[in-house]
Each structure stands twice: as C-alpha cells, then as structure tokens.
C-alpha cells in the first residue's frame, strides 16, 4: 500500500475542492441568473474538459505551463522552480480540469430557485450578499454539494492529465492512480489490488454520504 500516493491524492482532491468551492458558487450563480451574448460559448468552454480526452487537455497544459511559456516562465521567476512536475502544477491542472464538474451542478442548483423568491429576498431588504447566505445557498446547496463531491471523486480518479503533467515523483506528483498503474507495470498485482479496493471504498463512501446528506436536506426543504 502506497500511503504517500494515497495521501497525495487526498491532498490534491481536498485543495481542488477548497479552491473550486467559491468558484462553483459565484460562477454557477452568475451563469444561472445572467443572460448575455456569448453565454453559450462560455458554457461550452466550461463543458470542454468533460468531452476532451485528458491527454489532449494535459498536452495543452504542458505547453502552457512549460518553462518556455509565459506562465511557466513567470512561475519560474516568482517561485524559483518550474510549474510542471510539481504539486502546484498538478493542482492548477486539476482546478482547470474540474471546472465543469464544479460549475454545472451548482448552476443547475441556482437555476432551480424561482426568480420571484430572489426578488422577494431583495424586496425584504436583503443585500445581494445576505440573500446569497440566507436564501440562495440554503436552496441551491444540494447542487453545490454535488459539484464538490463530483470534483473530489473525479480528482481522486484522474489519471491521464497527471500522467501528462509528469506524475511520477513520489510525494510530489505521484497520485494513487499513477501508483496503481506503476504497480501493475511492475507485476505487483496484490499491491495494485489493495490500492484499487481502497480507492473504490473511499469513492463509494464519499458519494453515498453525499446522497444521504442531500436526501436529508431535501426532506428539510419540502
């Protein structure tokens, strides 16, 4: 059992969720309420990671983050090391790659709030911030929660992008999915089996817990 790889995966998933939670709420809410020219294009871009093969995505990220790219060069100058082959690089890739998982369900959650309920909040003297806290989030919460669980579970299971971003440095970029692949390559089927089963258990637990929680939230609302 490669505990370092498992811990790295959980850390990556946790940070991805932490960064994407506010993005999910703000971008989901914005896309749900606003009508503007080019909204379809924005939504398509958000959906893109869902349809692209992770290797394609990873390839472009590698180009964008490499030492010769402006972003990569900036990172090198600012932090003294390059962005690819590091945890930070993985995290940036993971955040970008999970945008669709983080935004879409939240957007649907906010879209389900009747316009009049939002207007009523406003006419009841609530500022936009207060309305978000007291009315919109309590109603859109199941959508946001789904978004975060999908993001978490999806990050745990991501393989292609991490492989492309150089995921073989233990404790830095070697996640559990990569470790399992390595074990299989090294004919350590028992080790791969234990790690695979652990990943299944964690993912199953996360998703089941969410379903039960959102069912309870649903009962509270009705």
């Amino acid at each position: 059992m490669d505990w370092i790889a498992l811990f790295l995966s959980l850390r990556l998933a946790g940070w991805t969720v932490a960064i994407l939670l506010p993005v999910s709420v703000l971008a989901g809410r914005w896309l749900a309420y606003r009508q503007f020219r080019g909204k379809g294009l924005v939504e398509a871009v958000v959906m893109l990671p869902l349809v692209l093969p992770p290797t394609v995505f990873g390839f472009y990220l590698l180009l964008a983050f490499g030492r010769n790219s402006p972003i990569g060069a900036f990172w090198q100058v600012t932090f003294g090391h390059q962005l690819v082959f590091t945890f930070e690089g993985l995290l940036v890739a993971s955040v970008i790659f999970n945008l669709s998982f983080a935004i879409q369900p939240a957007q649907r959650g906010f879209e389900a709030i009747p316009v009049e309920v939002r207007e009523a909040a406003s006419c009841s003297g609530m500022s936009p911030m207060r309305s978000l806290w007291r009315v919109e989030l309590p109603l859109a919460w199941p959508g946001v929660l789904t978004a975060m669980v999908l993001t978490f579970a999806h990050t745990l299971g991501e393989f292609g992008i991490i492989l492309m971003m150089g995921g073989s440095i233990p404790g830095e970029t070697k996640t559990i999915a990569i470790a399992i692949y390595d074990r299989v390559q090294g004919f350590d089927m028992a080790g791969a089996g234990i790690m695979s089963a652990t990943l299944v258990a964690i993912s199953l637990f996360t998703i089941a817990a969410t379903y039960m929680l959102s069912a309870r939230v649903g009962r509270r609302l009705s």
């Binding site: 009049e116 309920v117 009523a120 909040a121 406003s122 006419c123 009841s124 003297g125 309305s131 609302l221």
Partner: protein, 369 residues
C-alpha cells in the same frame, strides 16, 4: 407624504403613466394582463427600471432617471406581496417574517407573532410554506411585507392564486387590516370587482397608459374609463347593515334607501357591509311596481344621466345619501322621459347580487381620517 410614480418606456412594453397614492390610501391599478400594471409595480419596487421614471415616497426619491438616482430594491422600504407569494420555502412562517425585518429589531420572534396574528394566522408560526394552504401562504406573505415596515405596500394580484371562497375571506381581512396601515397601498389586479371592493382610488391601465384615474366611485360610473375592462362592470357600492339572516337563506340588510334582501351574506347582525350593485342588474320604474318578483325596490331621485357611445345610458339614482347606477337603453330612458330630479324606483333582483360582491365596510370612517 405620498407615493408618486411616473414612468415612461418604449420597450419591452410602451409605458406612459403617472399616478400617486396618499398615505393610508389603497390605489388599484386595474387592467388586462399585458397592460403594464405589473411592470409599474415592479418599477416602484426597484425590480425594473424604465427608460425614464421617477418614484418618490414621503419626499424620499427611490428612482429618478433624470438625476441618476436608482436605489436597489433592498434599499427601498417597500413591502411586496407577489402573485405566487414567493415565500422562502426553507423557512417557517415566522422565519419568513423575521427575514424581512431590519437586523436591529428587538424581540423579532414576538414581533413576527404579532404580525402573523394581525393577518389572522395565529398558531401556525412554525409551519413551512409547503404545509400551509394558499390562503395561509398569502397571509404569511402579507405579514412578511409588513415586517419590512414599508413606506409603500405593493400587492401584485394577491388573490389570484386562491379559490373563490378563500378570496372572499381574504378581501374582508384586507379591509380589516387597512385600519392598521398608514402607508400608501398599491393593488394590481385584473379583477374589477376586487378593485371596487377594496380600493379608495382606481387607475385604469391600458397599453401602458393610465386612461382614467379617480375615486373608485367615479371611475366605476364612467363608461369611457371602463370600456377597456368591459362596460358591464359598471356598478355602485351601496353601504348597508346586516339586520337578520332568514331561515330561507336570505339576509335582510338596512340600506339608506330602505331594506335590502340578499342571498345569505356572511357576518353577524349589526355588521356594516358594502354591496356591489351592477348597473345592468338595476331596472327603473316611474311608479312603485306591484306584483313583482324582485325583492328590492329602492325609492330615489334621478341625479344624472350619462350617455355612452352605444345604445345604453347610465342613470345615477340618488337613494338616501347614496347613489346607485342603472344601465338602461337610451330608448327606455326616452320613453320614461327621465330627467334629473325625477322620482324613480330602482329595482334590484336579490339573486343578481353575487356572494363575492359583498365586502365588509372599512372599520375606519371617512370622518375619522
């Protein structure tokens, strides 16, 4: 200390309207759906900004496009009752009401219970909206709107989502509630009966324009004003007091012009009510007719005859201190040679007065204002 509204717009619907409502006054904006009345209400609330508009309350400017003033809804002290109430579904009735209070309010829970009692909803404070009937939800919505301590109360078709029996009860409750309200109230409705029962003043809205604004009695007697809503809506309100309920399902009332027999009216003997008498249900006779099935014969004097553009005329008949309207053909008026000052008898069939054409009279008398 009044609500003043002016709005002009080309799109999405043309608007060219201005009106005002005095404190404590209920102004009804009456019009068909799509006439722009709800857009006007949304303009007052800050949910819509026309190209050119001005909204001021108590001298405080909420919106003035010319001066670049436009307060967002949450900075306007406005209470809104939405058509479908738009209660917060995750909050109880009391929490809904508290949510609309300013944060500094002390004993918010007690205040919420006071407001819920005021709208006749005691004991249900801890129910969620989904556990309340339509009529109860409407009461919570009114309590929530009042919790804001609004400088103007806006009601957007607040009775359209409940059944007829509930609506009649809610009319009476709104009439009773008004004794406690000091702010201007604007009611948007497509129901002329509702407007006549509840409003002090009416503004008839057609294609975004105010075609007629005036006291409810004036507007409801004006064929030109009511052309858009249907000339058959012309009616007068006759104040009366319930005397007794008969065993045969009829209620005897006392009106200024004499007794009135109507199908069962809710309310204990002694209750003051207002009865809507439709002009087209009134027959006029020169002499007191006999051998007639109609139960109500009110003696009065012709106060005026208003011709319309069609074959009919509206005859104003003074009965006691009140006036009722009769819509008869011009030919009949000529045959009777009716002139102002002539004595006539107005005949009203009991059964022509619908149950929802009777409302409690406001507790507050004009003299007390």
């Amino acid at each position: 200390m009044a609500l003043e509204v002016m709005a002009r717009a080309q799109a999405p619907i043309p608007l060219e309207a201005s009106f005002r409502a005095a404190p404590g006054e209920l102004l009804a904006l009456v019009g068909h759906s799509g006439s722009g009345k709800t857009t006007l209400l949304r303009t007052i609330a800050g949910l819509w900004r026309p190209e050119a508009a001005r909204v001021a309350v108590d001298g405080e400017v909420w919106l003035d496009t010319a001066a670049g003033v436009n307060l967002p809804p949450h900075r306007r002290h406005v209470g809104v009752v939405f058509q479908n109430y738009a209660l917060f579904p995750h909050m109880t009735a009391a929490q809904n009401v508290i949510a609309a209070m300013d944060r500094g309010v002390r004993n918010a829970r007690a205040e919420a219970e006071r407001l819920l009692a005021l709208v006749n909803l005691p004991g249900l404070a801890d129910r969620k909206p989904a556990q309340l009937s339509g009529g109860q939800q409407q009461r919570v919505a009114v309590a929530r709107a009042l919790a804001r301590r609004p400088q103007a109360l806006l009601l957007d078709e607040p009775f359209s989502a409940v059944d007829r029996a509930t609506r009649e009860r809610l009319y009476d409750e709104i009439v009773a509630l008004r004794a406690h309200l000091k702010m201007p109230v604007v009611l948007v409705t497509h129901d002329v009966n509702e407007a006549q029962l509840l409003a002090d003043r009416m503004a008839v809205i057609e294609k975004g324009c105010v075609v007629r604004e005036g006291s409810t009695a004036e507007v409801m007697a004006d064929p030109d004003a009511l052309r858009a809503m249907g000339i058959r809506e012309i009616a007068a309100m006759l104040p009366a007091i319930i005397v007794e309920h008969g065993d045969d399902g009829l209620t005897r009332l006392d009106a200024a012009a004499g007794p009135l027999i109507l199908p069962a009216v809710d309310g204990l003997p002694g209750t003051r009510v207002r009865v809507r008498i439709m002009a087209h249900d009134v027959i006029l006779a020169r002499s007191r007719p006999e051998g007639l099935s109609a139960q109500n014969i009110l003696a009065g004097k012709v106060a005026g005859i208003v011709p319309g553009t069609g074959p009919g005329v509206i005859v104003h008949v003074r009965v006691g201190d009140e006036e009722i309207l009769a819509r008869i053909t011009r030919r009949a008026a000529d045959q009777l040679r009716l002139q102002p000052g002539d004595a006539v008898h107005a005949i009203v069939k009991s059964m022509s007065v619908a149950r929802d054409h009777v409302a409690f009279a406001p507790v507050r008398s004009k003299a007390a204002q």
